[in-house]
């Protein structure tokens, strides 16, 4: 559908790169499953090879991505179940692009750098299945296809938590599975109702664009359907008060699982809101936006307050996720280009910062076999490099200017200020609270007098630093120079906001500042363009 600008891009389009992103890790999983179990090194290498190949493709995709185009690129449509109007339809736009890159890059890092402490063969295979499923969910432009991938990622994550997790893993894994499945169960009914009521005259279709552009649902119907979708996504995000599966799942999951859960799987919820909530039900989105923004802000404050109270370092990071995801929800339902762009950026940022924090907590547990804050103190003396890396990751999570968290949070607050002033004020308090709980935890763990056990804590090894180095580099890069990322996000977000405007009585504030100063103003956002 999209005319690609350059010769190279059109060549790339002929190779089904997006399908390859989904299929390659799945093939890898099958290959790993067939390897002999006695060679853990080979298994790990093959796993890294396949997921690394996906990372390479994803990065290549980002370089070939046309930043002037807000529509779907690299689209590919194949027949799948024509009798039911279902197609294999994949495409990428600015909203999904960086989540695809994040999904591509983070898996090989996790597979290469984190020891699962258990049978590596099924672990690696499940990880690759998880990568394939997450990719599929981010790339799907067919509602059925999205649902399938949204649901299938539960299985590998369930297996990872229940098989390689900590002592309460079975309880946590089951809770995780059932919570998420409950949400998606109702979403399935909503999807089918949407398709049944909203399909064009020509026949049933699950195609996202056809459903979004062509549907004429009754206002009330659309609101009900939106609520069903929203429930599924709110559980996944997770939003207060349906977040209770998250601390358990995060705490009990193995380190690799926690990283993926935070970096990739929670994003399915916020991404789902953007791709399916706003796009399919613009009127209902505007109608329910105050409710969702309120829940998001409650999440920010609640997550921060509860995080402050935690004794377990990993649980603290888990609750900080609740707060961070609240910011993304706030940005999304601010319904301004800045807010949503900031939200998309923050999805990536949260993956990087929280992923790094989970890795660090995992390393700490390997050293000390405890995550209790009260049992640790003065680690800075024994392991200064470790403490230094922790500081950077923590500051990135807090949102210190110059690191990635700031760019995202700032844009979100900027965007929501235009439409939701008081909520923004409350949310800004959350930024301060984040500094409070993280710095306080840091102070208790790394400062003070080390006990004998603390003094013997080993320093970070080179391999461990190698795992974290890409995270640190990304934190600094996105903090200092987020423009290349934002300029790819923004056209798509702008298009989405225009879609919401044209399908509801919502009008975005006209005096909203632009995200980036644009030289190339061939895109259709004139509201912000007048400012410079």
């Amino acid at each position: 559908m999209t005319m690609l600008a350059t010769e190279a891009a059109s060549q790339a389009a002929s190779f089904p790169i997006l399908t390859a992103l989904i299929v390659l890790p799945f093939v890898g999983a099958i290959v790993v499953a067939m390897l002999p179990g006695r060679r853990p090194e080979l298994i790990r290498q093959i796993g890294v090879l396949f997921s690394g190949g996906v990372a390479g493709l994803a990065v290549y995709l980002a370089t070939q991505f046309d930043s002037h185009d807000g529509g779907f690129q690299f689209e590919q449509v194949n027949s799948w179940i024509p009798d039911l109007g279902i197609a294999w339809h994949v495409g990428v736009d600015g909203i999904s692009l960086w989540l695809v890159v994040l999904t591509g890059v983070i898996f090989p890092l996790v597979l290469a750098g984190i020891d699962p402490h258990g049978d590596p063969k099924p672990y690696t295979a499940w990880m690759l299945v998880l990568q394939a499923g997450s990719m599929g969910a981010f790339l799907a432009l067919d509602v059925f296809m999205f649902f399938v991938f949204f649901e299938i990622v539960l299985v590998p994550m369930y297996m990872l938590i229940s098989g390689w997790g900590y002592s309460e893993r079975k309880y946590a894994a089951t809770k995780f599975f059932l919570y998420t499945m409950f949400g998606s169960a109702l979403m399935l009914v909503a999807i089918l109702a949407l398709v049944s009521l909203g399909s064009p005259e020509t026949g049933l279709t699950f195609d996202l664009q056809a459903l979004a552009e062509g549907q004429e649902l009754a206002t009330n119907t659309a609101r009900w359907l939106f609520l069903a979708f929203a429930l599924a996504f709110a559980i996944k995000v997770p939003m207060v008060p349906i977040h209770t599966w998250l601390p358990d799942a995060h705490t009990q999951a193995p380190t690799g699982g926690s990283v993926i859960l935070a970096a990739v799987m929670l994003k399915l919820g916020t991404y789902g809101f953007l791709r399916f909530g706003l796009y399919l039900f613009p009127e209902a989105t505007v109608y329910f936006a105050p409710l969702l923004v309120t829940l998001g802000v409650i999440g920010i404050i609640y997550g921060a307050v509860v995080a402050t109270m935690q004794h377990d370092l990993k649980r603290l990071v888990a609750y900080s996720s609740v707060a961070h995801m609240g910011f993304i929800v706030l940005g999304t339902f601010a319904l301004t280009t800045q807010g949503i762009s900031g939200g998309v950026l923050q999805m990536v940022n949260h993956g990087i910062s929280t992923g790094a924090l989970f890795i660090l907590v995992g390393m700490l547990y390997e050293r000390r076999k405890t995550r209790e804050i009260s049992e640790l103190s003065g680690l800075q003396q024994a392991a200064p490099i470790f403490a230094g890396v922790f500081t950077v990751a923590m500051l990135s999570s807090i949102g210190l200017p110059g690191l990635n968290g700031f760019a995202g949070e700032f844009l979100i607050l900027l965007g929501s200020w235009e439409t939701r002033r008081w909520w923004t004020v409350v949310a800004a308090v959350g930024v301060i609270l984040a500094a409070l709980y993280l710095l306080w935890a840091y102070q208790r763990v790394f400062h003070g007098e080390p006990t004998d056990a603390d003094a013997d804590t080993p320093e970070m090894r080179l391999a461990e630093f190698g795992l974290l180095a890409p995270f640190l580099a990304a934190m600094v890069f996105l903090g200092v120079y987020p423009a290349p990322v934002l300029e790819r996000i923004e056209p798509s977000v702008d298009r989405l906001v225009s879609h919401v405007e044209s399908h509801s009585d919502y009008l975005r504030p006209v005096d909203a500042p632009v995200v980036l100063p644009h030289e190339h103003s061939d895109d259709s956002h004139d509201e912000g363009g007048g400012d410079h």
């Binding site: 799948w80 399938v148 299938i152 299985v155 169960a185």
Partner: protein, 499 residues
């Protein structure tokens, strides 16, 4: 009617229509003949081979007839008593596949548990014949004959494990309750006959459309319908007529349970769909509410009771009740898509449930199938555990298994018919049921047990083949269900009056 004829003329017989039934009965007779005439003891594999070959031949003939029907249309024989349409052939194919898989699984199980192979296989073929007759019947009396052949075969098969008291008890329970339900069914037939003046579905269909004209009270028909529903609901283990299922599923030999949960259930639904969709479509406003009540109750009972069990066979029994609930949701719609989705569900469920009971038949513990027995199965037999995981996740409705597409299709049919509340109940029941399925998966893959002091798990090649086939079908139709959707959409039931 026959009395009015002065010169009795036998109706013409289209032997091709009877071919599947004849092959299966012929196979059964051949097994019995060989066993009784032979001086020396015949090895058990001979009867397995004959039964498998009969199933295969039935499958081939049915596929041949399928294309014939698609090209030349449906027809009937024996004065319209037995029909040949896409619907009957769909169930013929399904039954033939069920027979083949069950013989494969029964072979190793029978020799391990010292179960008489010839009797098992002969009864299996007889029961399968009954199932096909039920699906093909165009007359309620013929349908009853099919139902009884199927049931009597199953009563005996359930009791075949002579060494186990629970099997005897289960069979007795099944027999008494089954006979009771058959009586309900028969009484229903009688009342419908009273209301419409015929047992032929063709006549019933035309009669119900003119009931008011004839002045017969419709209450008679309604009571008859209700009694038929009771009789069939028992066979398909729909709540509140499911009470036999857990005990019988638990007590019966595992290969028999697999057959019972798949083919017998499918045959029950075949009868139900043909009676209500084809013969009584005019009364849809009367019967759809009954089915919706049954469906909701069945879904809830199946899901809630399943999570309270500790015996894997009982878990799957209640899960089987729950699956009947999904098919009933499809039945409630009364639409063509509902019918197609019901067939899709039955087809895919057949493979998942036979596969599950194939794995259970391997475990082979005499003191029950407590879930603890499955602990660490993945360590002892990773491939068997993987196969079981596929079946269990399929039944839970996880994507990329045929079970997901089946649920999806049923819910789509329900939503298309604006049965939103029922769709929501069905999906919530799926979540509740998932708890039980997860428990089985988690137990199998548990790392907590280091060494299991269990007898070695021998997997014969026949069982291995059956497992491979069922896993393959479950996964293939999970990824590319298009061909099966086309198949079930073409499997429309038709009534052709006999000449």
């Amino acid at each position: 009617m026959l009395a009015q004829l002065t010169n009795f003329e036998a109706p013409s017989v289209d032997w091709w229509i009877l071919a599947p039934q004849m092959i299966l009965v012929g196979g059964a007779l051949l097994i019995l003949l060989l066993t009784s005439l032979s001086i020396r003891k015949i090895p058990s594999w001979v009867s397995t081979l004959i039964a498998f070959a009969a199933g295969l031949a039935t499958f081939v003939v049915a596929m041949f007839l399928w294309y014939d029907v698609q090209d030349h249309g449906a027809r009937s024989t024996l004065a319209g008593a037995l029909g040949l349409d896409g619907f009957s052939l769909f169930f013929t194919v399904l039954t033939a596949l069920g027979v083949m898989l069950t013989t494969l699984i029964g072979d190793a199980y029978g020799s391990r548990e010292r179960m008489a192979a010839p009797e098992f296989n002969a009864l299996l073929l007889c029961a399968a014949t009954g199932a096909i007759v039920m699906a093909a019947a165009n007359d309620l009396i013929v349908m009853f004959i099919g139902l009884e052949s199927l049931s009597i075969g199953l009563y005996v098969m359930a009791a075949m494990h002579l060494g186990r008291k629970v099997a005897q008890e289960a069979a007795m329970k099944y027999f008494i309750l089954g006979a009771f339900s058959s009586a309900f069914f028969l009484y229903g037939i009688a009342l419908v006959y009273g209301a419409t003046g015929s047992t032929s579905l063709t006549h019933i269909q035309s009669a119900t459309l003119t009931l008011e004209v004839r002045g017969t009270p419709p209450e008679l028909l309604f009571v008859g319908m209700a009694l038929i529903i009771v009789g069939v609901a028992f066979k398909v283990a729909a709540a509140p007529f499911h009470f036999w299922a857990p005990d019988v599923y638990q007590g019966a030999p595992s290969p028999v349970t697999g057959f019972m949960a798949s083919v017998a259930k499918a045959a029950g639904f075949a009868a139900l769909l043909r009676i209500f969709f084809v013969a009584l479509p005019g009364e849809v406003t009367e019967w759809a509410p009954i089915f919706s009540g049954l469906a909701i109750l069945t879904l809830i009972v199946g899901a809630v009771m399943a999570i309270m069990q500790n015996d894997v066979k009982r878990m799957l029994a209640f899960s089987s009740v729950g699956h009947a609930g999904y098919v009933l949701v499809a039945v409630t719609t009364g639409t063509a898509e509902g019918l197609a989705s019901a067939l899709f569900y039955l087809f895919t469920y057949t493979f998942m449930v036979i596969g599950s009971f194939a794995v259970i038949s391997l475990i082979g513990w005499n003191d029950g199938h407590d879930i603890g027995r499955y602990e660490g199965l993945a360590r002892r037999r990773p491939l068997v555990a993987l196969a079981m995981t596929v079946f269990i996740l399929g039944q839970a409705g996880v994507p990329f298994t045929s079970g997901f597409i089946a649920k999806f299709y049923v819910i789509q049919a329900a939503v298309d018919d604006e049965l939103y509340a029922m769709a929501v109940v069905a999906m919530v029941a799926a979540v509740v049921g998932a708890f039980m399925y997860l428990r089985i998966v988690m137990t199998m893959w548990s790392r907590d047990v280091e060494a299991v002091d269990a007898p070695p798990l021998a997997v014969s090649w026949t069982t291995g083949l059956a497992l491979f086939a069922t896993v393959a079908v479950t996964l293939v139709y999970g990824f590319i269900p298009q061909s099966l959707i086309g198949f079930v959409r073409d499997a429309v039931p038709q009534l052709v009056a006999g000449g």
